[in-house]
Amino acid sequence: MSMNISKKETELYRKFKRVSVAEFFEKNRHLLGFENSKKDLLITVKELVDNSLDACEEAGILPDIKVRIDELKPSIYKVRVEDNGPGIPPDKIPEIYGSFLFGSKFHRYVSTRGKQGIGASAVVLNGQLTTGKPVKVISKVPGGKAYEFEIKIDVNKNTPIVIKKKEVDWKKEHGTIVEVTLKANYQKGRQSVDEYIRLTALANPHATIVYINPKGEKFVYKRITNNVPKLYETKPHPHGIEIGVLERMLKETSHMTLKEFLIKEFSSIGHKTALEILKKAKLDPNRDPKSLSSKEIEKLYEAMQETEVRAISAKYVVILGEELIRDSLIKMFDPEFVAAKTRKPAVYRGIPFVVEVGLAYGGNIKNFRLLRFANRVPLLYKAGECAITEAVKSINWRRYGLNGKEGEFPYEPLIIMIHIASVWIPFTSESKEAIAPYPEIVKEIKLALKETLRELSIYVRKKQSLKYIEQKYKALYGYGLELARYMAKILDKPENELRVKIISRIKEELLKDLVEVLRTVKDIRSLVEENKITEAKKVLKKMLEDIIKSKIFTQKEINELIERALEEISKTKKIKAK
């Protein structure tokens, strides 16, 4: 699959060089994710916000991001994104926003969000083509002055046209504001901008995001940590690239020899490995990389795949961490239970990746939801073809005490958040909305999910045991009476004898369950541990109220059982103390 993606990328890139940007964009807008007016708005916001977050992180700044969308007239929206990033030097601004830089991001191997996107210039171009309006950019670098630009793209020459440039007063020390006007459509729902911002805040707990939607509703997501993730950029791994990419890299490299090309352009290739590869490919290490024929490129590619090369170090992968996932889920969803797991890095074609899972259960959560993230970017589309969805649907929910069929999502008030972090994520298409379901990746996701689900299942079962203790003893009692009657018939014994025997045994069973509750249910256990015995008794009595009401056991019998259960607990404690 990824072979095709890269081929497509390469083809797109070639095409791009031949035609005017406007023509190219019109023909390929769907491939870039501009599929409908609702999605166009999302992509515009996403691209600008992702760029802001990346800029802050690369500069080690805690992001403060403000997003505002205004409906100027029906179907025409203005998106404004403001950040406190390092700013862009004024001489670079026209180039960045005023020329369509398609394909420039494919070579970077770093856990940023941006490389998942299509580039700010694509968003600018879309705005310009749909409304004729220029992009407005205000930016200030530390110690510099703030400049305001209005820029258009010359769609024939693919060069910036600066319509306006002026110095402005901006109190902020540094940062950037981008304003794009576009034809679009705003809607609420699971694939809305509102949701994208909310989930971005969830996966970026170090950012403060203020968002005002076209309806004037204001959302404030405050950061819960002051640690900015550190990003390290690395180079492609020889096992992780496709032949089309290699071809392009060979054509564009500034290195003069093949040997140097391999060492400098790839990670994990040293002197020795480079020579080994070239020997296998029967190529002269001093050849000019640009001079290779298609056949030779193929040979080189094969040799690269066959040679053993160590994996990229996992330090390049930026994770969220279990603690932050838990805190973030609690803050966002107010659940009654959370669990999180960050797996150890695994390797896929020489590229390390990390799977993280967060679960939030009950409380204010009413339904099931799966939240997918790739490098801290929420994935809102194409869930059906994503590795994450495939892994989740393969879970046997019953095994974890949850309701649901295999092959489907569970029917539980549960949010499953899954984050895949890597320097290079294999997406299923250029619009980068789903992760390709390679077996290594699906397997890793499943393992992470199962580990986390085990924690949840312990909680769920305990909760159920409390809730069902009444139900259980009502049933045991009712069926016990029936059983006594029919057992008596078979055994030719008086029904009463059987009844006494069965009921007294049910009582013993209740004692066992009470001891178990005292041991395992946190709230009650802590009462016992703090020696608040009267309180603990009160809670237990409340729990068993219905059993007395149904006349299964008398108040006296229940009191006795509670005393015995407490005795049992103190006995085991003493043994432990010894």
Partner: protein, 362 residues
């Protein structure tokens, strides 16, 4: 197994549970019911067999307590029936035991299907069939032909060719029936009553010296047991005649190799060397029945594909050929379609010709 032995088994089960209420965890063990997952196909004997695995129902398990209690209720009723020497139908068992349980406010049995299933569970727990517990199913199926039988309990005797056109109705159990005298050369089993009546009217049993059995759809336990006994006690060859559709084919399959659900009794109910006489896809070509075929529906098609993958059909080339033709032509054909030729056609031409030329599928 005599009555006393069955009563003993029921008592032992109750005693075990009684003791477990004192010392252990009260539970009932049973052999897990047969399904595609836990049966195996014995190629040598051409029979479906249960891969026995034990299941357990525990009283102190909220998920089990209902079925646990229901099982004991049925066992108690069975003991009563045996001791009073009465038999009860499946439906009577249901009504005998149905009432509301105090405290939980549930019915002991919501519908008959529930008690039927528990009776089957108890069969597998005790290793006896329901008729041995004096619980019987509705009678289904008829026999016509020159065969004399005797009811050991009642002491009466009859010839199945002298009971009128309807023949003798096969009861739920034939364990008390002796086959006294047989004056025929083989047995023809037909799926539908209409065909049975047609063949009796045409005097086929007399002409071909055959016993005719109508099973009325899927063969009842009694009918299967009778076929089994005629084959193995009296060495009569058995031919099965059904509709040419997957449901008809499966009627044949169950008579021959047993059903999945009752795979624990296959050796007692199945008749591995029965032969299939028709309707086949080849018949459509051979007798030019194209204008009286029916369209294969989606459910039929799905069922054909299931049959094709069953282990006992999978490596059977002749049957696979039939299945493939059916899927290719997308048609099925009823037994009754032979009437398009003439009413007598089935008795005078179709069956005699097929029997003479031994055109059978096995």
């Amino acid at each position: 197994m005599n009555k006393k032995a069955v009563v003993k088994k029921i008592e032992n089960l109750a005693k075990k549970i009684y003791e477990e209420f004192e010392f252990g965890s009260p539970s009932i063990e049973f052999i897990v019911r047969g399904s595609l997952k836990n049966i195996e196909y014995d190629v040598g004997k051409d029979i479906i067999r249960l891969k026995k695995s034990l299941g357990k129902r525990e009283f102190f398990n909220l998920g089990h307590v209902r079925k646990f209690t229901q099982t004991i209720m049925v066992a108690a009723l069975a003991k009563e029936l045996l001791e009073k020497d009465k038999t009860a139908s499946l439906r009577e068992v249901y009504y005998q035991l149905k009432h509301t349980i105090p405290v939980v406010n549930e019915n002991t049995f919501e519908e008959q299907a529930e008690s039927d299933a528990i009776i089957e569970d108890l069969e597998r727990t005790l290793g006896v069939i329901r008729e041995q517990m004096h619980i019987k199913a509705d009678r289904r199926g008829s026999v016509y032909g020159d065969i004399t039988m005797r009811d050991r309990k009642r002491g009466d005797e009859w010839n199945c060719a002298k009971l009128g056109m309807g023949g003798w109705s096969i009861p739920s159990t034939i364990e008390d029936i002796d086959i006294v005298d047989v004056n025929t050369d083989y047995v023809i089993v037909v799926e539908k009553d209409a065909l049975f009546e047609r063949l009796v009217e045409e005097k086929l049993p007399e002409k071909l010296r055959a016993i005719l059995i109508s099973v009325k759809g899927q063969a009842s336990r009694g009918a299967r047991r009778l076929i089994h006994r005629l084959r193995y006690e009296h060495r009569l060859p058995v031919l099965v005649f059904t509709d040419g559709d997957p449901w008809g084919f499966y009627i044949y399959s169950v008579i021959k190799r047993g059903s999945m659900k009752l795979s624990h009794f296959s050796e007692y109910l199945a008749t591995p060397d029965v032969k299939f006489i028709g309707m086949t896809m080849d018949d459509i070509e051979e007798y030019n029945l194209w204008n009286v075929t029916m369209k294969l529906k989606q459910v039929d098609e799905k069922r054909v594909k299931e049959l094709m993958s069953y282990p006992w059909f999978k490596n059977n080339k002749a049957w696979q050929r039939q299945f493939r033709k059916m899927l290719k032509w997308k048609v099925k054909i009823e037994q009754d379609a032979l009437a398009s030729k003439s009413l007598e056609f089935v008795a005078e031409k179709y069956l005699p010709e097929k029997i003479e030329k031994e055109k059978f599928l096995t």
